[in-house]
Structure formats: structure tokens, C-alpha cells
């Protein structure tokens, strides 16, 4: 049936597009997990802040939408940087003397930060939904059988460009190599003269900036509200787990896969339960591959 095929291609392409935004979101969370072995539960709020920064820069300050993207990127970076400075430092600096254990501290503090940011924005900007202007004003572009808005096409290109740039940055730049060294062996890296604290700072800044950029790119597609971050955050958790807990290529593949799976699942399985699929997969992976997650277990003894 030709109609069926067109639908499938459409679902596939749209899945890849969503996947690219997920990847932009999840890379930051992946980097943080790889480096510190913690989950940042406020990651979705970096996205939310980016979406607001972009929308308000364009609508309230009258900036060009093309300036809105770097503004969102910068604001997200600043929030990420501040988070590391104020809340994450005790995780690796003089934390042994703490009564609260590392994991518990990270869970509680990032969870509370998420609550704080959501309600701060709710109070300062308001609870109502806002929608950002598109990057271009072309309502329809036909890519073969697939119809897209101009914004979606350009946003996807920007997303892929940023993903590639980030991957290259981590792979080849001096900072990137330091990040990988610290992720592999914090103590060893610091003995080799790498400043592990600075590395964490860079990671949080980058993580906030990328998530915010993802928010900015989606602001014209998904209504922005103070609690909009919860859906991309949950996707990111799923991706980090699927992608192998800390691997960047793994998380990119997982993002695209999740985007496509959800796209098909919503049509062929159930629209209402679409958000539950990824979560169920997350639980299964965590339970069935614990040896992958606890490779260092024996070492603890």
C-alpha cells in the first residue's frame, strides 16, 4: 500500500528529527553521568530555561531569532556553571567528612534544584504557555514524501551540527581530552596535573548550554511552560541508560532510536501510553544488565 509506505517514511523521518533534539538534550546528562556518576534531576530545567530565554529574547526584547539561539545557549551555560559552583563542589571536594552520602546528596539537591527552578520561573514569568517564533517563516517544505515546516528542517540541521561539533570537541580538543581522562580515572587524571574540578565545571556549563539550545530549538514546536522540562528530562534518563551510562556515541544512537521507536509506537501501539514505553525499557535495561553498570563492584571490597 503506497499510503502506508509514505506514512512509515514520514514516521521514520519525524522520529529521527525528534531523536536529534533528544540527543542534544541527553549529551549533557551523559557527560555528567560519565564524569561524576550522578544523575542531574534538574537537567530538564536547563531545557526549560533555554526555551524561555529564546522565546523571551525574541518576543520581549525583539532580538532576531538567530540571536535567540546563542542567547539561550549562553543562559543555559551560565545556569549549568552556577549549579556546579554552588551545589556540586562538595561531591568531590572534601566530601568524605560529610554525613550525607554522595549519591543521596546528588539526588536530593538536584531534585530540589529542579523544584526551585520550575517555581521560580512560574513566579517570575508566569504559569501560562508561551510559544517561540520559528527560525524561518516557511509553513511547508516537501522533502520527497515528507512534509516539514521550515523551522523544523532548520532546527534539525542546527541540532545535528551541534551534536557533531560537540562530539568533535570532546574527541579532539585539549579540554575534551581532559574530560575523558577525568571520566576514566579521576585520581589518575589529577595526578597527571589535570584540574578535575575545572573539568566538572566545563561539563556542567556545556551540559546546561546544550540542553538550553535544545529547548530553544523546540520552543516554536512545543509550548513552553515552567514544567515543560519534565518530558525531555525523562527522555534523557532513558537515553543515558540505553546508551550505556556515559558513552556519547551510545547516547546519540539511543536518542535516534528512541525518537523513531516513539514515533512508530504512538501510531502502531498506543498513543496514550507512548511515554511509558521508554520508561519500561529503562527499567528493563537497568535490571537485566546490572553487571554492565557495576563493573567495578568487586573493587570495592
Amino acid at each position: 500500500m503506497p499510503g502506508q509506505r509514505v506514512l512509515n517514511i514520514d514516521l521514520f523521518v519525524n522520529g529521527l528529527i525528534m531523536g536529534s533534539f533528544y540527543a542534544l538534550m541527553a549529551i549533557g546528562l551523559t557527560l555528567i553521568f560519565g564524569l561524576l556518576r550522578i544523575v542531574n534531576f534538574a537537567h530538564g530545567e536547563f531545557y526549560m530555561i533555554g526555551a524561555y530565554a529564546y522565546t523571551l529574547a525574541a518576543l520581549k526584547l525583539g532580538l532576531s531569532v538567530w540571536l535567540g539561539l546563542p542567547v539561550a545557549f549562553a543562559v543555559g551555560g551560565i545556569v549549568g556553571w552556577l549549579t556546579e559552583r554552588t551545589l556540586m563542589r562538595p561531591l568531590y571536594a572534601g566530601y568524605a567528612s560529610w554525613g550525607l552520602m554522595k549519591d543521596e546528596y546528588a539526588v536530593v539537591v538536584t531534585f530540589a534544584l529542579s523544584l526551585l527552578l520550575i517555581n521560580l520561573v512560574d513566579k517570575v514569568i508566569g504559569p501560562y504557555a508561551v510559544r517561540g517564533p520559528g527560525l524561518v517563516d516557511i509553513p511547508r517544505i516537501a522533502l520527497g514524501p515528507v512534509m516539514l515546516t521550515g523551522h523544523k528542517l532548520i532546527a534539525t540541521i542546527v541540532a545535528f551540527a551541534m551534536i557533531i561539533a560537540t562530539a568533535l570537541f570532546i574527541r579532539y580538543s585539549l579540554w575534551g581530552r581532559q574530560i575523558r581522562a577525568v571520566a576514566q580515572n579521576r585520581l589518575g587524571a589529577s595526578l597527571a596535573g589535570i584540574d578535575a574540578t575545572k573539568t566538572s565545571s566545563i561539563i556542567f556549563t556545556l551540559s546546561g548550554a546544550l540542553a538550553a539550545l535544545s529547548g530553544a530549538l523546540l520552543a516554536p514546536i512545543i509550548n513552553t511552560t515552567p514544567d515543560v522540562g519534565s518530558f525531555p528530562a525523562i527522555k534523557s534518563y532513558v537515553i543515558v541508560v540505553l546508551g550505556g551510562m556515559g558513552s556519547i556515541p551510545g547516547s546519540i544512537v539511543a536518542s535516534l532510536l528512541l525518537g523513531v521507536l516513539e514515533s512508530f509506537g504512538a501510531v502502531y501501539i498506543s498513543y496514550d501510553y507512548r511515554d511509558a514505553f521508554g520508561l519500561a525499557i529503562l527499567i528493563l535495561v537497568l535490571l537485566l544488565r546490572p553487571q554492565g553498570l557495576f563493573g567495578e563492584k568487586g573493587r570495592e571490597v
Binding site: D103, E104, V109, L115, K123, Y237
Partner: protein
């Protein structure tokens, strides 16, 4: 348990009972139905906070699903009444049992997970449950909510049912924590491998902590369901779990009185602040961050340090 830690636990029990005595006396002065209702909902949170504190504060298992089990308990009793007209004397224990059994199963499943992995798994479980209940219109009526038979409309009766149940919970927790079980849970919290090598059956005690904690959440849920005569998936929102965590941390984690105190303080303050412009969650989140960062024992810990000034 040594004298000093037993003494400390007894102080905490006494403090919480004193607080509950004060709460029990409130209707003498306040007859306003609205504020009595606010206090009843605060006590709903006392169960959740007390249960989560047992699991997270004493056993060290940071679950992110306490509110979910209240929702499950509430739907347990609600669905039995709605579909099969089961009377409340049977559906209430059944709801608690359902929450506890699901909690026990979850506890067994997540047995090997720690820290961020446990948090992620329980968070996902919480979201799945909420999505499933919220979308199964045929069975649960989804977002519309489910009406539950109100056993009585007398606020005062409900008020004292809640007060009495909270007191029972405190006594039970006290008995549990001063027995060897309390020692085992704390040992597991501090060092699971070490606990196992001393001969503590960590799998059993972790499951027990999960089961008890979710049973308390289920208890909260069933009481709330019949009190408000309406249950909805919103009971299981992550935000509700966030509130519970705020209560435990602000009041003082790993103490018997902290969560009770925290639940009243946070819920009453949020009602008061709501009228003053809705900044309550901002304040609580900030407080939690400050407490986790600078004095993890919360307000009760602060109070104790002031009271425990060395006697001459």
C-alpha cells in the same frame, strides 16, 4: 543499641507525641472546617514522610516513588468499592495490602540497584504507574478521577482518626527502630557490603524496609481516598514526592520526629504562603538545598543541638 542512642530515639518519640498532643488539642480552638481539612492533609503527608524516612533515612534506599504508593493504595480501595461494591472495612486493608505487595515486589526487583540507578528506576516506575492509571479510562476513569464512598462527612471524626493513626505509626516505628531491626537498617544504609559480612541478611531487611514504607504510603492513600471521597492520578505526581522529600529534609532526616514536624510545617506554610503569593515551593526548595548542603540533620537536628548543650 547503646544507652545514648536509645535515649535519643526516646526523646524523638516523646517530641513527636507532644506535637501530636498539641495537634489533637487544635479543634478546641479552631472549628473552621477549612483549617481542620488542612491539618488532615498535613497528616496524610506525615504518613508519607514517615514511611519515606524509614526507607531513605534509616535504610538508605532513596526511592523516588512514595507518592505513587499513596496513589496505588487510594486506587486500591477506590476501585474495589467502585467496581465490586466492596465495603470499606474490607477495601481499606485491601488497599494497604495492595500497596505493600507492589512495594515488596518493587523492592525485590530493585534489590541490586543503588544511588542514581535506584532513583531512576523508582522514578520511572512512578511515571509509568501514573500514566497507566491516568489513561485507563475504562477501569480507573483516568484523569476524571474516581469517586470513593465517604464514610462520614464529620470532619472532626476524620481528624481524630488521622491523629490516632499517626500516633500508632509513631509507636510502631519506635518499636521497630529500637529493636535489632533498627540497627540492621542503619548498618545497611551505612555500608551494605559491610553489613552482609557481619551476617545481616541485607536482601531480607531491604525488602522489609520497602514493604513497610510502601504500606505506610498505602495507609495514607486509603485514608485520604475516603476522607476526600475522590482520588485522581495527581496523587502520584512527582511534585508530590518532591514535597515529601522537602518535608523529611526540612524536619530532619533519620529522626523519628523530623518528618512529622516537617510535614506539618511544610504543608501549613504552603497553605499560608499560597495566600501570600504562592512562593511556598521556592522557599522549600531553597531550604532543602541549604539543609542538604550545610546541616543535614534539618530543623530537628538544629533544635537538638541547642537543647543538648552540655549540662554543668
Amino acid at each position: 543499641m547503646t544507652r545514648s542512642s536509645q535515649q535519643r530515639l526516646r526523646d524523638e518519640l516523646v517530641a513527636s507525641l507532644a506535637l501530636m498532643a498539641a495537634v489533637a488539642a487544635v479543634p478546641l480552638a479552631v472549628t473552621n472546617d477549612y483549617w481542620l481539612g488542612v491539618l488532615i492533609v498535613s497528616m496524610y503527608f506525615v504518613f508519607l514522610a514517615g514511611g519515606w524516612n524509614l526507607l531513605a533515612g534509616y535504610a538508605g534506599q532513596f526511592s523516588l516513588a512514595p507518592a505513587t504508593f499513596a496513589m496505588l493504595g487510594a486506587y486500591g480501595t477506590g476501585l474495589l468499592a467502585y467496581h465490586w461494591q466492596v465495603p470499606a472495612w474490607a477495601s481499606i486493608p485491601a488497599g494497604i495490602l495492595a500497596a505493600a505487595l507492589i512495594g515488596m515486589t518493587l523492592g525485590r526487583i530493585v534489590m541490586r540497584l543503588r544511588g542514581p540507578y535506584l532513583a531512576l528506576t523508582t522514578l520511572s516506575f512512578a511515571e509509568i504507574m501514573r500514566i497507566v492509571i491516568g489513561n485507563s479510562y475504562d477501569f480507573t476513569r483516568g484523569d476524571l478521577g474516581l469517586s470513593v464512598p465517604a464514610l462520614t462527612n464529620n470532619r472532626l471524626v476524620w481528624y481524630y482518626v488521622f491523629v490516632a493513626t499517626v500516633v500508632l505509626m509513631q509507636l510502631a516505628l519506635y518499636a521497630l527502630l529500637r529493636s535489632r531491626a533498627g540497627l540492621y537498617l542503619m548498618a545497611i544504609r551505612d555500608d551494605e557490603i559491610g553489613a552482609a559480612s557481619r551476617g545481616i541478611n541485607t536482601a531480607f531487611w531491604k525488602t522489609a524496609a520497602f514493604t513497610l514504607s510502601t504500606a505506610l504510603a498505602g495507609l495514607a492513600g486509603v485514608l485520604y481516598a475516603h476522607f476526600s471521597s475522590l482520588v485522581s492520578p495527581e496523587l502520584g505526581l512527582i511534585l508530590q514526592t518532591g514535597l515529601v522529600i522537602c518535608m523529611v529534609f526540612i524536619g530532619g532526616i533519620a529522626s523519628l520526629v523530623g518528618p512529622v514536624f516537617g510535614a506539618f510545617l511544610v504543608y501549613l506554610a504552603s497553605e499560608a504562603l499560597r495566600e501570600a503569593g504562592g512562593v511556598q515551593l521556592i522557599v522549600f526548595a531553597l531550604l532543602v538545598i541549604l539543609i542538604a548542603r550545610f546541616f543535614r540533620e534539618g530543623l530537628w537536628g538544629l533544635a537538638r543541638r541547642l537543647l543538648e548543650r552540655p549540662a554543668p
